[in-house]
């Protein structure tokens, strides 16, 4: 993947649509001033949610869609920054840094199983655009998440849905699919809570399925300057922002820290 051009990393964006998928979950379409390079599934942006200095830092969001000078992100309210985004009006202007990081590696000869935990679906919406070799497995905590499932299902046909109580889709979680995968022909991409990614890594190792995971860490600059977002790996500390956020699952030291 080519190095990003730093002089074009930051730009202002305007909120052009907002679709609520529940009280604390929504989809934002952001219009950029200039067309941004083609985004790889797994790449992300840092979005600043205030004009002043509080909150100070941008918040990382995987890009879920791209069309012309518009990108789409999926936001779950997690704190003050995301609350400000939720409260933003159409036409609101924010500053954005990105696209950042390395996405999932293409594997044209293998079928890709995308395992998503709730909002972890974001990069896979992008991945499935025009790609018939991906199969999506989406797990959600409970019935509150039905609007997300409906929204995803409008975009992608044949999504496998899982919920712990079985009221939406299959009972259980996306890890259930790993058991039936063919180690020679299929790979796993995963995005979701760290606990889920760790479990994916363990299961895929047991079954010798190649797996890549998209990690989320606290982050400041997003460009490899501050070393604030490192994860411990078998190759030493690596930066989530520029070495990741997607790593081979076997590279991550899941029990470090």
């Amino acid at each position: 993947m080519p190095e990003p051009d730093p002089s074009r990393l930051d730009q202002d964006v305007v909120v052009s649509t907002k679709v609520m998928l529940g009280e604390n979950l929504f989809v934002l379409t952001l219009e950029t001033g200039e067309i941004i390079p083609r985004v790889q599934p797994g790449q992300f942006v840092l979005l600043r949610t205030a004009a002043g200095f509080d909150p100070l830092l941008g918040r990382p969001f995987a890009i879920s869609g791209q069309e012309g000078n518009k990108i789409e992100i999926l936001v779950a309210v997690a704190g003050r920054g995301t609350r400000l985004l939720a409260d933003s009006a159409l036409g609101a202007r924010f500053s954005l840094r990105g696209p950042l990081g390395n996405g999932f590696p293409e594997s044209p000869r293998r079928r890709v199983h995308c395992l998503a935990g709730a909002v972890g679906i974001a990069p896979f919406l992008l991945a499935s655009q025009g790609n018939e070799k991906t199969e999506i497995h989406l797990g959600v905590p409970g019935q509150d998440w039905e609007p997300l499932i409906n929204w995803v299902s409008e975009k992608i046909h044949g999504v496998h849905v899982y919920s712990e109580d079985g009221k939406l889709g299959n009972r259980g979680n996306p890890l259930l699919c790993i058991e039936r995968l063919d180690p020679g022909r299929e790979v796993v991409w995963a995005c979701g809570p760290t606990g889920m990614l760790k479990a994916v890594s363990t299961e895929c190792a047991r079954r010798h399925i190649p797996a890549w995971v998209s990690l989320e860490t606290r982050m400041a600059c997003g460009m490899g300057g501050c070393h604030g977002c490192v994860v411990q790996t078998v190759n030493g500390p690596r930066k989530t922002c520029t070495d990741g956020p997607v790593f081979p699952s076997q590279e991550v030291l899941w029990n470090a820290d």
Binding site: E3, P6, D10, F53, L56, R218, C221, C226, C229
Partner: protein
């Protein structure tokens, strides 16, 4: 009429900078693409990440934590060590468009001596060495080198013996009377003082009901600390005859001006560019507009001007 280029130029001792804005250590990628215009428009010099003799893995656990208008960090001097810096980083960085200031973490006397002897071989590629004396003196009880005048002087003397080029000492706010530390550093041979490093703070995660950082305390930067840093710049520049470089929370044109009026010859900027890479060109533009509007021929005329009536 002075041009913008000559108007914004400053000297820090004998080091000439095209602009008084310096990228603070530990904040800027070493990727060569970040050391060229137009990314570095408005930048006079850039400090490298802190350099140590051997590679350092840095701290475990959470490393950054946002506070209102501020950022706590506990990175732990992660860097690939002297050899990697000399072989890979420095050749690329010195080919860029800004002056390179090598930030050296003060370790043991022996380690720091070795780093500086090696850098001396590359003096032609470096505008200055910035010695970070906020690090603990492992041989001397673990207190930061810069925490008292005697230790600070000792650190500067070791550096001075091994590095003949411009030597800047980056002071820590975590000391008793910073004016005493500053004078001791000046007497020991520092050519300029960077005032200052981050302010020690902490955060508690109320969900886990325990400290956020593995090392409990962490350094606070960002707009929240600006008035604290400005006060130190005033105190230090009143106490010494060598140039002072302001550092801590600069985020607006007014902050650059304030630091210089308080006695700084230049200012370092770190946290601000975490969200805005155009901040240097924007601040320089505003700075130039101010100089022009006030009829200053040179940025140097501002330095310490805020003291003219009071002192």
């Amino acid at each position: 009429m002075p041009t913008d280029q000559t108007r914004s130029a400053v000297f820090v001792g004998e080091v000439a900078l095209r602009s008084p804005l310096i990228i603070a250590s530990g904040t800027w990628p070493h990727g060569p693409e970040y050391w060229h215009d137009p990314v570095t428009f408005g930048v006079g010099a850039a400090c490298t990440k802190a350099l140590t003799l051997h590679p350092r893995a840095g701290n475990t656990g959470i490393r950054v934590w946002e506070t209102p208008c501020g950022l706590l960090n506990s990175i732990g001097l992660q860097n690939p060590g002297l050899q990697h810096f000399l072989m890979t980083d420095l050749p690329a960085l010195s080919a860029g468009d800004v002056e390179v200031v090598a930030n050296v973490a003060m370790e043991t006397e022996e380690e720091t001596g070795k780093v500086l002897v090696a850098l001396s071989e590359e003096q032609h590629s470096l505008a200055a060495v910035e010695l970070n004396i906020s690090c603990p003196n492992v041989d001397g009880g673990g207190m930061a080198w810069g925490s008292d005048p005697t230790q600070a002087a000792r650190a500067i003397r070791i550096a001075r013996e091994n590095w003949k080029g411009p030597l800047w000492a980056k002071l820590t706010p975590q000391c008793g009377d910073i004016a005493l530390v500053a004078r001791a550093a000046e007497d020991a041979g520092a050519d300029a003082l960077v005032v200052a490093n981050t302010w020690l703070g902490m955060a508690i995660d109320t969900r886990s009901e325990s400290p956020v950082f593995a090392r409990k305390f962490a350094g606070l930067s960002g707009p929240a600390v600006f008035p604290l840093s400005l006060r130190l710049v005033w105190e230090v520049s009143s106490a010494v005859g060598i140039p002072v470089v302001g550092c801590g929370g600069v985020s607006r044109v007014e902050d650059v001006l304030s630091m210089m009026l308080a006695g700084a010859s230049a200012v370092e900027i770190g946290t601000l560019h975490f969200t805005d890479l155009s901040c240097f060109s924007r601040l320089e533009q505003g700075f130039l507009e101010y100089l022009s509007a006030k009829g200053y021929a040179s940025a140097m005329e501002l330095i310490g001007k805020g003291k003219r009536i009071i002192e």
